[in-house]
Symmetry: C2
Subunit: 238 residues, 2 copies
């Protein structure tokens, strides 16, 4: 039997402040929890209704799951994991490919970018503190499990980029055509926010600007779409 205070704690994990205070976050959905269990991911607790076929530590009724779930249509399982935030190691940006998110606020975009990073074997994703929270339910859901595979860090972006030790390309409407980008083994690609693009603090830290040529009428491309097109170019065989 789930206690009222337990249910309240699960509900409170919808909120970033409570996640940080408790040091916990929730992962929901049969597919994603199943994948993470198969990959050896550790959970503090696994709440599941009888419809879930996997490991359970706390059986829960469908009615209580509907109360605990962060989604309007709850799944059969909600797993609670410990928040583990590691600081960006010094010098990390000098090696490999980094996607840096400059205030990407839509959690669906942040989750999709983690999935893109995973697909293209991007080495890490760096988020400015203004981005959607990595451990929100919508980011985790949109990442389709990739949030558990891609090293992700939150850090003040401008300072980190100034000391990157690798070329730093911002994505914007006017810059080098992405198709002309040289092969870059080490690079940081900065994706601006949905509404305002690259921030004034980050712009001086760029060593170049890259653009995806527009052929038609749209004003801009979705942040995850832009990130994916640049990654596809950097990862294609030359």
């Amino acid at each position: 039997m789930i206690t009222r205070s337990e249910l309240q704690q699960l509900r409170s994990l919808r909120d970033k402040r409570h996640r940080e205070a408790l040091g916990l976050y929730a992962v929901e959905g049969e597919k994603i929890v199943g994948e993470l269990l198969a990959a050896g991911h550790e959970f503090e607790a696994i709440y599941a209704t009888p419809a879930w076929g996997g490991r359970v530590t706390r059986p829960i009724t469908e009615a209580d799951m509907a109360r605990a779930s962060h989604f309007p249509t709850p799944s059969a399982v909600l797993a609670v994991a410990r928040l583990r935030r590691t600081d960006l190691p010094a010098g990390a940006l000098a090696r490999g490919l980094t996607l840096a998110l400059d205030g990407v606020q839509d959690p669906g975009n942040v989750g999709t970018i983690l999935r893109v990073a995973d697909w293209f074997a991007v080495d890490r994703v760096l988020l400015s503190p203004a981005c959607a929270d990595l451990h929100s339910a919508k980011v985790i859901q949109a990442s389709m499990g990739s949030f558990a595979r891609v090293p992700a860090f939150v850090a003040p972006l401008a300072a980190a980029l100034r000391e990157a030790g690798a070329p730093v390309y911002g994505c914007a409407l006017a810059g080098t055509d992405v198709h002309q980008l040289p092969a870059l083994r080490d690079a940081v690609i900065v994706i601006g926010s949905e509404g305002r693009g690259l921030s004034a603090e980050v712009t001086p830290a760029l060593t170049g600007v890259v653009t995806i040529p527009r052929r038609g009428g749209a004003e801009s491309l979705n942040a995850a779409v832009a990130a994916a097109i640049v990654c596809d170019h950097l990862r294609r065989p030359r």
Copy 2:
């Protein structure tokens, strides 16, 4: 003063059945309504609170807007337009670039694909009847105005593709590397559904399969991301 039955009609436009029965749909948000007005788009009615600076036919209080709006955070304007569905013209797929959506059900993905199609000057988007409804609030919002610029049609997909008169490439996990795709002036690119990929009915109508090479761990790419990468390749100068 907005009548109760008027408010009820606006609320009913959240539902596809009611949109079809009334022959109307709603467009919400200052930016998108402003853009459409500037482009000469015709509306049956423009409901707006005093915060809206543009044309209004029906002033509405904030409280009534909150009741009428299809979103949890209503904007200052909700415009009602007439549904105009045109049938896919015979032979249309033979010319230019078509994105065909095979059961793409997430309205955010359908809207983002319209925006991608607009950016890359794709000639048309063809949706199978199982796709998210073109005139739902979330599709319109995610398209960022592109839904009004990109010719879009709904039609049974397999039959249309069999008579395409142009190469028909499905996006899937195993196929021709997208980077090896020849320059194609006329082509149909088919994007499968989020959960199941390409449908069994559509597969026999394909003349080829294209794939975006995976370098890392993700199981798949988001539908809009995949569409964008293929469009970027087909539209790049050779």
